[in-house]
Amino acid sequence: MSTQTEIADRHAQAGEHDHGGPALYAKTLIALLILTAITVAAAYVDLGSGNVVVALTIATIKAMLVALFFMHLLWDKPVNAIIAMAGFLFLGIFLMFCLLDFDSRNNYFPANFKGPAADMPLAPGTAPQGQVIRTNPAAEGEKK
């Protein structure tokens, strides 16, 4: 198995020598460690809802450093980067639409709703306590 693949890959990796290199990788590691320190420190500062944004932004920067330098996407053929981005893009779509649903869940009533009328059902969350909810007085009269 090895010999055949060896021959096949022989010229492949010749051009890969001039990218990366220990110095660049070491610098990337240092950047990652610094960013880790920043993100931990930021957690002790109360920014309200900004905390999540800061944390995820730093995480994304770190992820991109790993992807571009350690995973070689910067120097690879574009198809690999396209595949990687597609994965994150569709994950983002999944998250976005779920949040769209959840964040707009409590809008029970339309924007032009003026308030409960006398024989409208009670507000959501309260129990009827044995009340009869009259929806169509005419039909009720017929059935009885």
């Binding site: 198809v79 597609a86 639409f97 779920c98 769209l100 649903d101 964040d103 809008n107």
Partner: protein, 550 residues
């Protein structure tokens, strides 16, 4: 017309090779451990057709139960409500996970894709074999779940019923999990193969449209199926650990389950239809003797269908409890997803226009597809429209819609493709007369069964219901009789296809005068596909006389 379907070898064909992929090596292990994509395709074919038979039997039982509202057959109730719930669940689970998702890509695609590309095999042959064994494992797990009491949740496993009901739900969802990985690895393999293993001279826009369709399917398989995987794991953990994500009694959100489930399952239906459309894109130009109308449009439509399919899943949840805003957004996007399908339909019809139509069996299935898929696709728009969906959701209208697209669409295309590549795969020609009888009977039976269900649904008959009002009985009975006609047609089809195997393997290399590369090798192909690496010289579907091609 019969010139195209003669089984007499035409002059100019190379002599028939003595050894082909079927008889090159013999014995159980030579098949069980094969790395040949053609043999793997055949094993998948046998597997998915067995699953189709099993799923079909459950379908016939479901329809038989609904023949009368009292469910009495010969004076006895043979199927109780609890059993009925299991019957339709198993019908759905088997048909969706064991048959229709793998069928065209893994059975026909595995066989044809490398040949069409002019390649020796797929990119990762061992992964291909692993995919098959994963399918087999998932199938055996599902059969075990059936034996241990079966599942009554519907194939959609909606919570909280699925988290609380008795029965081997976890085993069944783990079977689907395993099947999901089979699908993922097949898709992964195909993407890599299409990117890197094309014949010299074959650029992206020189590939047959079947490849574009399978490639688009593979994109969906890789991106969507993992979410199904995690959904099923979460469901199983909810059942055993009570993690609190889906079941409202422990603080979960059942609509979240539906988001998770449909994020995969909507793109999944495009995993089902795109390969069917891919086959139609082969059948129509070949049997119209005319180059495809709008090659690039169809190619782009295939990829855009794959991508847009990811942003419409909420249309399965209009009345489930998601917010109004989400509902409106999903409805609007659903209208968008119909456009690429429409483009393809028009392009196929324009291909046939002024073509030299050959009404061989595959073409009859293709024409049937055009009509049935049109109906199925349009009724999808009715369901995607909010106001009408409120009335039609969870009725037989939905059942009719998805059977029209999945069966009238994909299964019809699958059977057409099976006939088209039958001589290539087996080296035998089937009986054209019986082929046409089978197709006509199938189309009649299909419409009897499912066109009826549109009326049932719009009159208010809910789906998955065991009991129904007396007024629905005539339509139900008619639909049931239709199911018997489908059963008969498929039995006939199976019979003459199997009978053809008893004839000697003397089919010509290219019985249909197709222009794609699989027809340039023998029927059946030799083990490594081509004697020499083929180089692409003509565009696909180029039916001009050779002198005019240059």
């Amino acid at each position: 017309m019969d010139q195209a379907i003669s089984s007499v070898p035409r002059t100019g064909d190379r002599p028939r090779p003595k050894k082909n992929y079927l008889n090159e090596t013999k014995g159980f292990m030579s098949w069980a451990g094969t790395l040949d994509h053609k043999r793997i395709g055949i094993m998948y074919l046998v597997g998915v057709l067995t699953a189709f038979l099993l799923g079909g039997i459950f379908a016939l039982l479901v329809r038989l139960t609904l023949l009368t509202p009292t469910h009495k057959l010969f004076g006895k109730v043979l199927v109780t409500a609890e059993v009925y719930n299991r019957l339709f669940t198993l019908h759905g689970v088997i048909m969706v996970f064991l048959f229709i998702i793998p069928a065209i890509p893994a059975a026909l695609g595995n066989f044809v894709l490398p040949l069409m590309l002019g390649a020796k095999d797929v990119a990762f042959p061992r992964l291909n074999l692993a995919s098959f064994y994963l399918w087999l494992t998932g199938a055996l797990m599902a059969v075990c779940a059936m034996i241990f009491g079966a599942v009554d949740t519907g194939w959609t496993f909606y919570t909280p019923y699925s988290t609380t009901t008795d029965g081997p739900v976890s085993l069944m969802v783990m079977a689907a999990f395993v099947l999901g990985f089979s699908s993922i690895f097949t898709g992964l393999n195909f993407i890599a193969t299409v990117h890197k293993l094309r014949a010299p001279g074959m650029g992206w826009f020189d590939m047959p449209l079947f490849i574009w369709g399978i490639y688009s399917t593979a994109i969906i398989q890789v991106l969507a199926t993992p979410v199904l995987g995690i959904t099923l794991v979460l469901l199983a953990l909810e059942r055993s650990f009570g993690i609190g994500i889906f079941d409202p009694r422990i603080g979960g959100d059942p609509v979240l389950f539906q988001h998770f489930f449909w994020f995969y399952s909507h793109p999944a239906v495009y995993i089902m239809i795109l390969p069917g459309m891919a086959i139609i894109s082969e059948l129509i130009p070949t049997f119209s003797r005319k180059t495809i109308f709008g090659y690039r449009a169809i190619a782009y439509a295939s990829v855009s269908l794959a991508l847009v399919s990811f942003i419409v899943w909420g249309h399965h949840m209009f009345v489930a409890g998601q917010s109004q805003l989400a509902t409106v957004v999903f409805s609007a996007l659903t209208f968008l997803v119909a456009i690429p399908s429409g483009v393809k339909m028009f392009n196929w019809m324009l291909t046939m226009y002024k073509g030299n139509i050959v009404l061989a069996t595959p073409m009859l299935y293709a024409i049937s597809f055009l009509i049935l898929f049109a109906i199925g696709g349009l009724t999808g728009i009715f369901l995607g429209t909010l106001a009408t969906d409120v009335h039609l959701t969870d009725t037989y209208f939905v059942v009719a819609h998805f059977h029209f697209v999945m069966m009238g669409g994909t299964v019809t295309a699958f059977i057409g493709g099976l006939h088209y590549w039958w001589p290539k795969m087996t080296g035998r020609m089937y009986s054209e007369t019986w082929g046409r009888i089978g197709c006509v009977l199938y189309t009649i039976g299909f419409n009897m069964t499912f066109l009826t269900q549109f009326f049932l649904g719009s009159k208010g008959m809910p789906r998955r219901y065991y009991n129904y009002l007396d007024q629905f009985q005539p339509l139900h009975a008619f639909s049931t009789v239709g199911s018997w006609v489908i059963g008969l047609s498929l039995f006939i089809t199976a019979a003459y296809l199997l009978a053809s195997l008893r004839k000697p393997a003397d089919a010509p290399d290219n019985p249909w005068e197709g222009t794609t590369l699989e027809w340039k090798t023998s029927s059946p192909p030799i083990a490594h596909n081509f004697e020499e690496q083929p180089v692409l010289e003509r565009e696909p579907y180029d039916y001009r006389p050779v002198a005019a091609a240059h």
